[in-house]
């Protein structure tokens, strides 16, 4: 009647294996699709050239461009989905997302300020990071009581959530202010940044390191996250260091969000819809949920970005518009299935 432990393990391997293949397939699709479609037969040769640091053929150059962008999409999507899983476990609320605490709003303030002052792209990224970190630290200071756990009042992290929502609104007020005084020329890039756009994103190593570190932390604490999601403060009576876990989840999910927002802008819905869909399909056990959300989130954003640059080509849409267009109905569907 009940799943034996071996069966559970096998099921987890099957799920993660299948998602890994799906993620690779999404990267392949992204590499082949575009204004000039590549044939499967051209891929091995082009890939071989890239690996040897050459771009002799058109296929190789196209693949280099598309793969670079697809990899940024993958790492951003994976980071956002993982941050979403962690934030939902931290707040014990399946409707939380990485942006709910205002970290992306803080990044928006930083990025838009840099765009307003017509800074270089690197400065915009750095400024976004500063904004995200500043909001995180402010939040940490204001809601220390909730993050400590154990002795906190019953009801979990309500103070953290409320503080985050208010900080987020304050940041959005600053954003509105900057948008209203921005010159016409800057407006388009500012709006695109806020919706989330991968057009100008350049592949870098740092987001991969952040994602790798975040994934390692989440896998290490997957069981503790299960216990904390079930019991809140009382998880301490099962040997969980609730305070340390909450701080860890807060810091790591903040880092993941900041890293993703910095390289791709404030792409919405990925951090909400992907963990939600994975939980819906594979169950709430974080030991399966964490790796599957990372793979599904990465693959999802790669496909959305491919869609964003091809659907009305040569015009490129911001990928955030696509994720929201797909995410909103999917989310509503799941929500009503749950309530039914």
């Amino acid at each position: 009647m009940h799943a034996a432990p071996q069966a559970r393990r096998q099921r987890a391997f099957v799920i993660v294996g299948a998602l890994l293949l799906a993620a690779l397939a999404s990267l392949l699709v992204a590499g082949m699709t575009g204004s000039v479609a590549l044939h499967v037969a051209e891929l091995p040769d082009a890939l071989d050239q890239l690996l040897h640091g050459r771009q002799d053929s058109l296929a190789a150059s196209l693949l280099a461009l598309r793969a670079g962008r697809a990899l940024v999409a993958f790492v951003s999507g994976g980071a956002l989905a993982l941050a979403g899983v962690m934030m939902q476990a931290l707040l014990r609320n399946p409707l939380a997302d990485p942006y709910v605490l205002g970290i992306s709003a803080g990044a928006s303030v930083g990025a838009l300020l840099a765009l307003l002052l017509m800074c270089a792209a690197v400065t915009v990224d750095a400024s976004a990071l500063v904004g995200a970190v500043a909001v995180s630290m402010l939040l940490y200071l204001l809601a220390r009581r909730d993050l400590r756990g154990g002795v906190a009042a019953e009801g979990g992290a309500s103070q953290l959530l409320l503080t985050g929502v208010i900080l987020s609104s304050a940041c959005m007020a600053l954003v509105t202010l900057m948008l209203s005084i921005a010159p016409e020329g800057q407006l388009r890039s500012m709006v695109f940044w806020m919706i989330g756009d991968l057009a100008g994103a350049s592949p870098r190593l740092l987001p991969w390191l952040v994602l790798g570190g975040g994934l390692a932390y989440a896998l290490r604490n997957a069981r503790a996250m299960n216990v904390a999601a079930l019991h809140a403060d009382a998880a301490a009576t099962l040997g969980i260091r609730v305070g340390a876990l909450r701080k860890g989840l807060f810091l790591v999910s903040g880092l993941l969000t900041a890293s993703s927002v910095t390289s791709a802008g404030a792409i919405g819905f990925v951090g909400l819809i992907v963990p939600h869909a994975c939980r819906f399909a594979f169950g709430p056990d974080h030991r399966v949920l964490v790796p599957s959300a990372v793979l599904a989130g990465g693959g999802f954003l790669v496909l959305c970005d491919t869609l964003a640059r091809t659907v009305v080509a040569p015009v490129q849409l911001p990928v955030g518009a696509i994720t929201a267009l797909i995410g909103a109905p999917v989310f509503l569907y799941q929500l009503h299935r749950l309530r039914a």
Partner: protein, 263 residues
Amino acid sequence: MSAIATQKLTLTVAGRVLVRALDWQAGAGECWSIVGRNGAGKSTLMRTLAGLRRPDAGSVTVQGRPLADWPLEELARQRAYLAQSRHDAFAYRALDTVLAARHPYHADRYWEGSDDHEAAMRALDAMQAAHLAMRDVRTLSGGERQRVAIAALLAQDTPLLLLDEPANALDLAHQVQAMSLLARLCRDQGKTVIAIGHDLNLAYAVSTHALLLGDDSGDGGWFAGPASEAMQPARLSQVLGHPIEAIEHGGRRIFIPQEFQHE
């Protein structure tokens, strides 16, 4: 050595003293009922005993060792705690919630072993909840959820059990079944059970001892002792703020609250 003891333990909530200088201990094989009116500090005391709340003065020791000196994981193999209520945000299966209680035995492993599954199924079986194992906990009724929660407590397999209203939401048959099971754990396996309950008859039937919290003075008074001595009608009337009579029936003591006099 006492399984759990308090030394001059004082609990204060919002400037009001709930419990003053509680010197108390519970040994192996003892089943304690905590009795008191609403707001007397029963749950606050239970959370303090479980280590979820710091004492405002005094200390709590488990097996003679102060709570703060216990590594959390080791302590989790010594005492289990049943919260008064729970909020299920995620669609865990009942079996998952019971398996989670095995966490303190192997926090370093990624997956549970088959022995954990056996322990979990045994615990569910003991609470007559084996058929609920694969159910989403959010779809269970209040009483079913409570039985699964008690099963998780049993699966934790600790010598000391702290239960905040274990009979909550259970129907009559399961109330008697659950409380008898707890009494049996004390009698046969030498466990120590501390439980909060509002049903005096049930409490008297299963407990060896009782701890009464609060009295007319409203100054954190308490009384601890063997059930037959602590649960005297006069004392209970004072603690609960309502006249209570007791009758002996077939070797059992039955408590009856006096009816209000209509004027």
